[in-house]
Amino acid sequence: MFDLWDKVQQVLHINTPRGFTGGIVHQNQYKITGGDSIVASPLPDMLVHPIKQHIGDPCEPIVNVGERVLKGQMIAKAQGYLSVPIHASTSGVVEKIEKHLIPHPSGLGLTSISIKPDGLDEVDESLHPLPNYRSVDIVELRERIRHAGLAGLGGAVFPTFVKLVHDQKHPIETVILNGIECEPWLTCDHQLMIEKAHEIITGLDIVMYLVDAKQGIIAIEDNKPDAVTVMRKTLKDMGLTDTVEVKVLPTRYPQGGEKQLIQAITGKEIPAGGLPLHIGVISSNVGTSKAIYDAVCLGEPLTERIITVSGDAVPKAVNMSVRLGTSVRFLLAQVGVTGFDDIKIIHGGPMMGELMVDADVPVVKASNGILAMHKQSIMRAHHDEEPCIRCGDCGEVCPAGLMPNLLAQHCKEDQFERAQDYNLFDCIECGACSYVCPSHIPLVHYFRYGKGQVAQIQREKAFAEESRMRSEKRDARLAKELAEKEEKRRIAKEKKEARAKALADKQAAEDATLSVEAENANENADKGVAKAVDKSEEAS
């Protein structure tokens, strides 16, 4: 009876025992790399740093070609508010600053700083360690976190310092540390929690001090019992059990999504277009937390990260600690991948990762996983798109509560306004809908296409608006110039007429005087003549 009621509840989404709506449970795909300790990747012969590795504005290079840089030295400074600087990940000489392929599905390049390592690995020590962070001013700490180039290492690379504001309007009560692995095959966060528990918890403590939060939660899924044990033990050792607790959640994808995790833990849903801090919560990835520890307590900027290197073309999948800027080709060669003709490289995880066009892309701050897959296995998983049968499975699994079937239909038909009415932009592109679709419709591809087109249309509109303004101003200016010319012409004409009139008047007056004189003269002449005649008459 109760079982039946539970089932009804689940089907109707009333009081669901799951933390967030929707989501899927993957079978048998876990732990391809789990359990082995993190391997440090050796120094490659070239490190390439693209000038934009975060969400926001690109950085500006501050080094020149030929200059020697040290490990941890800032090589590109932040521009604008939503931006964090980039640091060299080893000591060496800047070889070139030009366009280089970056891990982006377009295969387009971005200005990148290439550094030839000198093998000395000399460290720039301009950032002094602040082990007693609780006695440091929070403004300075926040500036330090920005200066160290920290961006969310879970994959979204949102500048970390932006979140860490102590805002009176939205006081932060809870800091959630995201120890859910964001994608099924990746285990970099799992392994990091086992190996660097102390650093991660110290990082959490720094964040809690910065935003003045009372409560810290470390969220871990129940498929990582070893990580839970380690974290609980470390918390006890550090004496933080009063303020920080470890919460174990049932494994479900995409629980690692920020909104989903917060909903799963607090039961509060972040409003559409809102931020976690609007409901008094901030969340941070465990990798970011460790990087915060490094930046504050050790004075080390973000120059390396943990990456899961996996996929069916990799003989032995492994978690590696990799310097940012290392080429993916070099990384895969370290794990025994030699031939690249027959494999495809996915940057990210199996659900949300993007297919790379080339292996010569550098590792960036966003790289949480590199998957090398045989072409055949990708093609085997590929199916032709069939018509939608309206089964509703996609709506069932959508963690954002959208209706993917309708959204995809509208995007397909280029009805982007309708798609926006169905909240296209609340889609987090987790891929759960495409994963369950029995008709193999690439739903997320349609949403990405739709989002891109909407952005394009908005850009075109803005450009058209600007062009209209310029054109109208030009027309107004031309009209004004014309009017001024007309006015000048009119004035000139008037002046000319006036002058002509004056001249004519003068002429007339002169004529008049002349004629009077002439008349007088004539008269005189007449008189003279008359006189003469008289005289002559007299004479005769």
């Binding site: 798109e385 989002k451 891109g452 209209r468 054109s471 101003k473």
Partner: protein
């Protein structure tokens, strides 16, 4: 007498409404033509004159006045045409000329003689220069209308394709690449079967 009441009532009602309408038409009077404003807002504002009118606004006026069909805006493409047809309530008509890739003008400065003729021709004021000085085009503002090509006496202006920017890159329509891949896969399977 009672049969006249309704007549009075309606006469008074008609008077009140009539006065109300008269006042409304005076106080809520809209300047300009709202229909042509709407159409103008849809046009891409390249001011290129390919529609046969000197700019986007005159074309919008002409369409609003039903003087010309909706399919003459080449840079606007099919989307703009459909939107205008929707507003005008007419059947969509295919655009006769082919849609072109977005371009901007570029002046080869070595050859420019500084005659300022192109500056005068530019409908959006995006050419900078002075008499006897090199001119140059502000590519960010250029609408690619090609109106500067004609007056240039030394033909030193080229139309160049705008480079694809990383931040403007958008995902292509799904299915195209996949379809090609699926085709090749099918072909290989068929070969294997044979």
């Amino acid at each position: 007498m009672e049969f006249l009441y309704p007549v009075f009532i309606f006469a008074i009602l008609a008077l009140v409404i009539g006065v109300g309408l008269a006042l409304a038409s005076r106080y809520f009077h809209v300047e300009g033509d709202p229909l042509s404003d709407k159409i103008d807002a849809l046009l891409p504002q390249t001011q290129c004159g390919q529609c046969g009118y000197p700019g986007c606004r005159p074309y919008a006026n002409a369409v609003a006045a039903d003087e010309v069909s909706v399919n003459h805006c080449v840079p606007g493409g099919e989307r703009t045409m459909l939107a205008i047809a929707d507003i005008m309530g007419v059947e969509p008509k295919a655009i006769e000329e082919e849609e072109t890739v977005p371009v901007v003008a570029y002046i080869r400065e070595d050859e420019c003689i500084g005659c300022t003729l192109c500056i005068k021709a530019c409908p959006v004021d995006c050419i900078i220069g002075a008499p006897k000085q090199y001119h140059t085009i502000v590519a960010d503002h250029c609408t690619g209308c090609t109106l500067c090509l004609e007056p240039c006496p030394v033909d030193c202006i080229d139309m160049v394709e705008t480079p694809e920017l990383l931040e403007h890159w958008a995902w292509p329509v799904p299915g195209t690449k996949r379809a090609i891949k699926a085709e090749t896969r099918k072909a290989s399977h068929e070969d294997a079967d044979v």
